[in-house]
Symmetry: D3
């Protein structure tokens, strides 16, 4: 606790995920005053065919 779930389009590198986890944990610890160990982060990679915005699949956007 706190738990953080991140949905983002596939294609980000492991290095980006490493940095994202580091930076978000830092922000949560600073603001919420919990221990780093309490912060759990789940990342879910999405295919463009599985994301829709304004009624259109991301896979269909030019």
């Amino acid at each position: 606790m706190p738990f953080i779930q991140i949905e983002m389009l596939e294609g980000r590198t492991v290095e980006q995920k490493r940095e994202l986890v580091r930076r978000i944990t830092e922000a949560v610890v600073d603001v919420v005053k919990c221990s780093p160990e309490a912060v759990k982060i789940i990342i879910r990679d999405m295919k463009p065919e599985n994301y829709g915005e304004a009624g259109v699949l991301r896979a269909d956007k030019k």
Copy 2:
């Protein structure tokens, strides 16, 4: 906003996902009176081994 997350068994076509996003966005815009751009939809495909109903995996159902 609104965000919609859809869990369904894998196997649906991109065409079905395209139509699902179109139809659900249309319904939300009509009822909630928001703009189409505000409606974000995430689809997650599930393997039959990852879905259980009445204590039984879908992968085990005849």
Copy 3:
């Protein structure tokens, strides 16, 4: 199956939720060819202080 989770700002009426569930179920049944009974929909109402966009809380937007 399919399960649908809808996050939206608080303040919508029960009548809007009733119509949203009806319309989304209809769309899913038409497109995914499942039974209406298979479609489960969860709605979560959000306070403006619990939603952030572009780094700003909705509660802080004029």
Copy 4:
């Protein structure tokens, strides 16, 4: 209803998932007094690069 979503690291066998669904459904039915058919369980397998704890990716832990 009730719906249960389980996030866990990838690598568990179908047999473990089968047993997990059986045992959790049994627990929910006993405690909440609902029918087994009402209990729906979704399992999501996570890659170690998609899970962070204490600011560190699981993929980076020795």
Copy 5:
């Protein structure tokens, strides 16, 4: 890890939630061979007006 999210209709007692957490943790530890401390469970109570099945709000069912 594992994380478990439970959506269920409001109205269950704290005693039922206590027992549910105990029983589910026990099941997960037995099957997945993780420590009890690794198992995190979130329960979300739902209003009948926020749950739809077969196109109908639970609040509207007799």
Copy 6:
């Protein structure tokens, strides 16, 4: 896109939520190279009776 869902125990102030949204958006924009407008954050406040760890409700911890 990206969407971020944060589950944390109730009791944090609006000021903490404001700062959390600001800091997390900043981190995501820096690392994932998306626009601030693309980053959506949902916060869910949890009652201690709705959170279990190691088989015990947080509401029962001394």
